[in-house]
Symmetry: C2
Subunit: 413 residues, 2 copies
Amino acid sequence: MGRKDISERIIVQKYGGSSLSNSDKIQKIAQSIIKKKNTGDLLVIVVSAMGNSTDELVKLANVVTGNKSSSPREMDVLLSTGELVSSALMSMVLNSNNCAAVSLNGIQAGIHTDLTHGSARISNIKTDRIISEIKKDKVVIIAGFQGFSEGGDITTLGRGGSDTSAVALAIALRAKRCEIYTDVEGIYTTDPRLENSARKIKEINFNEMLEMASLGAKMNPRSIELASLNNMPIYVSSTFSESDGTLIHGGKNMEDINPITGIAVEHNVSKVSVIGIEDKPGVAAGLLKPLSDQGISVDVIVQNSSVNGNTDFTFTISESDLNKATELIKTQKTVIFNKIVTGVGLSKVSLVGTGMQNSPGYAAKMFKILSNENVNIDMITTSEIRITVIIKSSFVEVAVKNLHKAFDLDKLN
Amino acid sequence: MGRKDISERIIVQKYGGSSLSNSDKIQKIAQSIIKKKNTGDLLVIVVSAMGNSTDELVKLANVVTGNKSSSPREMDVLLSTGELVSSALMSMVLNSNNCAAVSLNGIQAGIHTDLTHGSARISNIKTDRIISEIKKDKVVIIAGFQGFSEGGDITTLGRGGSDTSAVALAIALRAKRCEIYTDVEGIYTTDPRLENSARKIKEINFNEMLEMASLGAKMNPRSIELASLNNMPIYVSSTFSESDGTLIHGGKNMEDINPITGIAVEHNVSKVSVIGIEDKPGVAAGLLKPLSDQGISVDVIVQNSSVNGNTDFTFTISESDLNKATELIKTQKTVIFNKIVTGVGLSKVSLVGTGMQNSPGYAAKMFKILSNENVNIDMITTSEIRITVIIKSSFVEVAVKNLHKAFDLDKLN
C-alpha cells in the first residue's frame, strides 16, 4: 500500500469515557470496530479514560497531597495513566478476538506538544509509527488526551483533550474522516432536556458548531477549531445506537437549510460589573490580566459607552470562579474604580446560525419573543452568526421553548 | 558536583507495594525521604504499584477479555500504569512539602530491556536524565518494574521486578548502596510465623541470600544475583520500623559467624515422577522442554540411577501448575515412559549457610534430626551451601523448630 492509498482509507474514531466505563461496553465497541475493519477501512482509535477514572485519579492526588498539590508535571503523569489503561484493554480485547491491534501512548504515537502541563497544545504529530502499524494491518489504539514535550515529559491536553487528539491525528494522517462517539446521538437544535421538540441536526458547519459547542455533544471547542482550520469533517454519533449522528463539516451545499441552527444554553454563569472606571486605554487589560494569570476564563465582555469620562465594565465568568475573581480585581493596582457589583444565578442563551449573517431581523425577533414572555435581558453580545443573551436561570426554560418554536427549530430541515 | 562526587552520595531506595498502599503510608515515606535528603544523601527512589493494584489490573484484563487475553505486549502497557501512578503521587507529595522531586517512567529513566514482555531483562541503563535531575537537586522517583525495548515498546520485568529495577539502577548510577524497604524487618533465620525463636540476621552474603530468597523479605532472586555480580550491597529493612534491617553484601569479614545462616521454607510444592523411562540421552530435555515452553518453572529435579536400562525422573513444581504439567508430559512424543505418579501437599525445607561448604557432617546431622522426629523425606537435593529436603507440609513445623534449635540459629551470631 502506498502512503496515499492508506490515507484515503483511514478513519480516526474517538470513544469517550462514558462509552468505555465497563468491560461490556469495551467488548461491544470492539465488535463494532471489527465489523468496520472488515469493510476495508483502516482504523485509528483514540480512547479516553474509562468512565470517571480521571476524576478518581484527581481525587487520589488531592487525598495524598492534602489538597495542596502544586505539581502540574506530576498531575499529567498521573492523569495520563487512565487513557493508557483503556488503550491497553481495548487492544487486548481486539487481539483476543483475532483482530490484530496495538496500543500506543502519546510518545509512541508521536504527539509532540508544548510544555503547558494540564493544557498542552499539540505542535506536531510524527505519524511514522502509526503508519508502520497500519501497514502491518493492525488497528491502532491511541491513548487520547496526552502527548509529550520536547524534553520527553508527559503532557496532557486538558479536559476534553481526547477530542483534540482525535482531530489532530485525523489531520496528521490525512484521514478520510474523524468520528467522535459519545453518549449522545449527535448535535441537537437545543438541549433535549429543556425542550422535548429539540431535533437532531444532520449537518452543521464548523462555525455554527463552534458557537454551539456546549450543546449536547459537549465537544471541545479547540477540536472543532482545529478541524475547521484543516477542513477535517467530524462525524458525531452515539456509541451504542444505530441511528445517524451529526456531520460537522466545511459547509458546502448548506444554502437551503434553516437559517437558525440551534439554541445553545450554558448554566452557572455569574457576572461582575466594575462601576465608575476612568475611561482610558488599558482598562480592559488591567482588569482581566490578573484573572487570566490565575487561569480564570472570562466569557462575555461588555463595556458601556463612556459617560462624563467614566465607564462601566461587565463580564461573565463561571460561578465557581466568582469569589476569586472579585478578590483579584479588588487587589489589582492598575485600574481605579468606584465599586464592584456581582450577580449570580444567570444563564447564557445563544441563538446560532450562519443564515443570520448580516440580517438584523433575527436579533429584533429574538428580543421581542423574550419580552413577550417577560424575560428580562441582563446582557447582550453578538457575533456574525450568533446572538447571545444573559438572563436569569429561572427564565431559561420559557426562553428556550419559545425561541425554539418561533424559529421553526422543531421542523425538519 | 562532578560525576564521581555525585555517585558517592547516591542511595537508591525501593519501596514495595504494601508500603505504598494508602495515602498515609505515602506521606510517611515522603517524610522519611525528606529527613534522609537533609543529611546530604542524593536519593533515587524506586516505587512499586500501590498495594494490590497490579492484581486488580490483571483482574480487569481478565474480565474485559473473558480470560482469553493473549497480548503480553498490551498486558505490559496495562500493568506498567500501576507504578506510574505511585511515582507521580510520591513526587507530588514531596513537591507539596517543598522537597523538589521528579517522577520518571522506564523510558525517561533510560531503562533498556530485551523484548520478553512480562519478564523482560534489563540490558542497559542510560542514566543521563537521572543524573541531570540529581544535579538540579531533585529527588528522582522512578516507576519500578518497567523498561522499554529497542522498538520503544513498554516492557515489564515480572513480579518482584521493582527489586531488580532498584539494584540495576544502583549499579548503573554507581550508588553507595541499594536499600529495599518492605513490610518485614529484614532476613530471618527462618519464617518467624513457623518458629518464634527465629532471629533477624544482621549480615548475609549474596550466595546465602540467593538460597534464602524465599525467606521473609521475599526478595526477587534475580535482583540478588545482579547485586552479587556487581558487588552492590543491599540493605533490607522495614519501611515503618526504626529497628535495623539486614545487610546483604559480598561477604568479607564473615568468617566468625554461624556456619548455618538460616532455614528457608517454601509451601505448595507438588512433585511429578515419571516412572520407567528408557535411560538414554535427551530424556530430561524431552520431558522439561514442553513445560518451559509453556512458562512452567520446574524446581528440584532428581533422576534416580538406572536399573536394567530403565530410570525414574522426578521434579517439583508449584501446585497450581500440576495439572497442566502432567498433561504436557502425557502428550509429548519424545520420551517413552511407563507411568506418571504425582504427589501434592509437599513443602521444601532448605538449610542454608556458606559455612557448610564441603562439610558432609551437616547433611548427616540434618537427616538425623528429621528422622528423630519421624519426618519422612521425599526428595533430597543439595548445592555447595544448601541442603534441601522435600517433605509433607504437615511435617514442616516440627522440622523447622528442631533444625532451628539444633543448628543454634536462635543464638546471636
